[in-house]
């Protein structure tokens, strides 16, 4: 890693900013501002800093509509919003996807719009922690805040997750390294365990690495549970792990004072999907007969948890909520974005603060290229290439204030540090404006129909 001299050329420091990158939502950042731009960030990890520091070369600055030749042309806000509203109002199976990189305040208008037109509202959970949410619906959720874990935990388990690469400050700020009230010596008072088929960067710095075979999660946790129930394990190896190691691990997990299990996509997206989480949660229920154990999913985006909490609170379902029959419905495989796209059902797609063009499976992106796509975002990305209407939003936590939920469900107010570019609008304003315009079109349609 090359040495980078500290940034000294700045006008002011905006303290206690919140990072708008991963689910850690680190709220101790100092933004160094010069001429209305963030030129440096203190305390953030490299991932967070590089996102928060503006990359104006990729910034979407003006509303655009794709013309007949397939080129995006700059238009004024009224034209772009009218075009988007018209597409949404005439859609039969619209999907509003994304929301995880915008504020709860924006989602509020999103729900109103979705209910009005009968759309499917879905967020990134559909391709990341959706299985965790399904498992939680089945077997509950022994949750704790990151602060509790920091102060109490003497065993930290990361399973199917590599926070050294994906959530770089997670170990240093919340779980392993910080000195807590009951863990005065920080790292020395804790045992770090990584369960991952890969010898990841987190595994390299762990005390124990359990490299079970790929797709072996369910069988492995089942064996731990069998061991916890006092069964002598029959098979010599379960999911590639010797039975002695499993017995030893079960014993070690029983004998801690406070254990915390963090799980990532390595657990949610292997063969048995939601049942891995289901099994892991039930394993913790077993361990709680002996000692205290909690678990937290390693959420990716800074507000992906926010959408799930908000939707579950408002509509009773966490993601993939379908309003097409006028009331909220939720069924995996039926009302989720990827399924609707690969089945070629969706006819208008609005993406808000997400990049399906970069992250979706090929079949889904192929269908996206064939249907009208409305993009509300701040950066030019693969989704812009397939978008027909582009509405430049603002950057929550830097250019605009908003509320987000951390991975453990703690709501955090993200404050504004600099002004947004003059030609951009707040996400909240854009969605509210779309709602009003669609409402107007629907009222006109109803008036014509009644005549």
């Amino acid at each position: 890693m090359a040495y980078e001299p500290p940034v000294t050329d700045y006008d002011e420091i905006v303290e206690n900013g919140t990072c708008a990158f991963c689910g850690c939502n680190c709220d101790d950042l100092d933004f160094l501002v010069k001429d209305g731009h963030v030129v440096g960030v203190r305390h953030a990890c490299r991932l967070g800093a590089s996102k928060v520091m503006e990359d104006m070369d990729q910034r979407l600055l003006v509303p655009m509509i794709r013309d007949e030749n397939g080129e995006l042309q700059e238009v004024d806000w009224d034209t772009a919003l009218d075009k988007a509203a018209e597409l949404i109002a005439n859609a039969v199976r619209p999907i509003f996807y994304g929301w995880s990189e915008t504020s709860i305040e924006t989602m509020k208008h999103g729900i109103r719009l979705g209910e009005l037109v009968g759309a499917v509202l879905d967020n990134q959970a559909t391709i990341c922690h959706g299985p965790s949410l399904q498992a939680v619906q089945n077997v509950g959720y022994p949750v704790a805040t990151l602060g509790e874990i920091k102060n109490r935990a003497d065993m930290i388990v990361y399973t199917g997750s590599n926070p050294m690469n994906s959530h770089p400050r997670h170990l240093s700020r919340y779980s392993t390294f910080p000195r807590g009230w009951f863990r005065q010596r920080g790292r020395f008072d804790r045992t770090l365990v990584t369960m991952d088929p890969k010898y990841s960067d987190t595994a390299k710095m762990s005390d124990i690495w359990i490299g079970f075979e790929q797709n072996g999660d369910y069988g492995f946790y089942n064996a731990i549970r069998a061991a916890l129930r006092g069964k002598e394990i029959d098979q010599d190896f379960v999911s590639g792990i010797p039975k002695e190691d499993i017995m030893e691990l079960a014993e070690a997990m029983k004998n801690v004072q406070f254990g915390a299990l963090y799980f990532g996509l390595g657990l949610t997206h292997t063969l048995s999907k939601q049942r891995n989480i289901d099994m892991a949660i039930e394993m913790l229920a077993d361990l709680n007969k002996y000692t205290k154990w909690v678990l937290t999913p390693m959420r990716g985006h800074f507000n992906v948890n926010g959408f799930n909490i908000f939707m579950a609170y408002e509509m009773g379902f966490p993601y993939g909520v379908d309003f097409c029959r006028g009331y909220p419905r939720y069924m995996n495989g039926e009302t989720n974005t990827i399924d609707l796209l690969t089945r070629k059902e969706c006819d208008v797609f609005m993406v808000i603060a997400a990049d399906p063009g970069a992250h979706y499976p090929g079949g889904a992106v192929k269908h996206l290229a064939e249907i009208p796509v409305i993009q509300v975002d701040i950066h030019w990305g693969p989704s812009t290439e397939i978008a027909d209407v582009v509405l430049p939003g603002s950057f929550i936590g830097v250019e605009c204030a908003g509320t987000s939920y951390r991975m453990d469900g703690v709501p955090i107010h993200m404050k504004k540090a600099v002004d947004k570019p003059e030609t951009c609008r707040d996400d909240e304003w854009i969605i509210r404006e779309l709602h009003e315009r669609v409402q107007k079109i629907k009222a006109e349609e109803a008036a014509v129909a009644s005549k």
């Binding site: 859609a91 039969v92 199976r93 619209p94 037109v117 009968g118 759309a119 399904q134 619906q137 089945n138 369910y218 069988g219 089942n222 064996a223 549970r225 069998a226 129930r229 069964k231 394990i233 029959d234 098979q235 379960v238 063969l271 048995s272 049942r275 289901d278 099994m279 039930e282 077993d286 309003f323 097409c324 029959r325 939720y330 069924m331 995996n332 495989g333 039926e334 089945r343 070629k344 059902e345 006819d347």
Partner: protein
């Protein structure tokens, strides 16, 4: 006896929902009623005649006298026979999601493949699928712990993942192969699989019976060997041959029984 025939003339890319077209609701409908009817498609409703040619013959005093014949590819028609209580539905083609979901009586025959959630939360009646089905056949509503509680599903092809999830009664008979986690969380009922199973049947099962006639890939550690039984009788059905009997899943203090064909699964002995 009333025969209602719907013949597909245009396949909609967006799935139609047939939860209102069950014998219980349409037994007294005439052809003109069907022609007036608008079927839910996405967030709209469109005339049924846009998609189907409709023929109605005979009269019915109740739903049990209704026979609905659905001709064509119904791969974009969801909720066929959902919540039906009596009568018969025959699909001459594929069926989409939730075929026979929450059905309480009557019979559905799918002469093709069925998508996921076939027979979800079924309470009674009979569902016969001549082809394959995908995930969550005979399962619960997402998050519920009570799945299919009665009736019978017969599958002539193979089943996908998590067959009979949270099964709390009834019988599922798979003549083909089965993917992972058959009978997960089940607490009652009987699953018979004639073909091979990839891995982990009966994960977290509390009670009930699973019988595998084919070869099993991976067995869960939560199952404890009980004995080798000859010609077992399960749920009133007798099976010839030797079967290895396991109890489980002990991870949930389960008292379920898993029978594996001893001949084909010698390595487990």
């Amino acid at each position: 006896m009333k025969t209602i025939t719907l013949t597909l003339k245009k396949k909609s890319p967006i799935a139609l929902e047939f939860d209102e077209l069950i014998p219980d609701k349409v037994f007294d409908w005439e052809k003109v009623d069907f022609e007036k009817y608008q079927v839910p498609v996405g967030n709209r409703r469109f005339p049924l005649t846009d998609y189907f040619d409709i023929e109605v013959e005979g009269d019915a005093a109740g739903p049990e006298e209704v026979k609905m014949i659905l001709d064509g590819d119904f791969g974009r028609v969801k909720y066929i026979g959902c919540k039906m209580g009596a009568g018969e539905i025959i699909v001459n083609g594929d069926a989409d999601l939730h075929c026979g979901a929450e059905m309480e009586g009557g019979k559905i025959t799918v002469n093709g493949n069925a998508e996921s959630y076939a027979g979800r939360e079924m309470k009674g009646g009979e569902l016969e699928i001549m082809g394959n089905t995908r995930e969550f056949c005979g399962c619960s509503y997402i998050g519920d712990w009570r799945g299919m509680s009665g009736g019978k599903i017969t599958l002539h092809g193979s089943a996908g993942k998590q067959l009979g999830e949270c099964l709390s009664g009834g019988e599922i008979y798979v003549k083909g192969d089965c993917d992972i986690l058959a009978g997960i969380h089940m607490n009652k009922g009987f699953i018979q699989i004639d073909g091979d199973v990839t891995r982990w049947p009966g994960g977290q099962m509390k009670n009930g019976n699973i019988l595998v006639k084919g070869k099993l890939g991976i067995l869960l550690e939560g199952f404890v060997y009980d004995s080798v039984v000859a010609d077992p009788v399960i749920d009133g059905k007798s099976f010839s041959g030797k079967y290895i009997k396991y109890n489980g899943d002990i991870a949930v203090n389960g008292k379920g029984n898993l029978y594996l064909n001893a001949e084909k699964n010698r390595e487990f002995l």
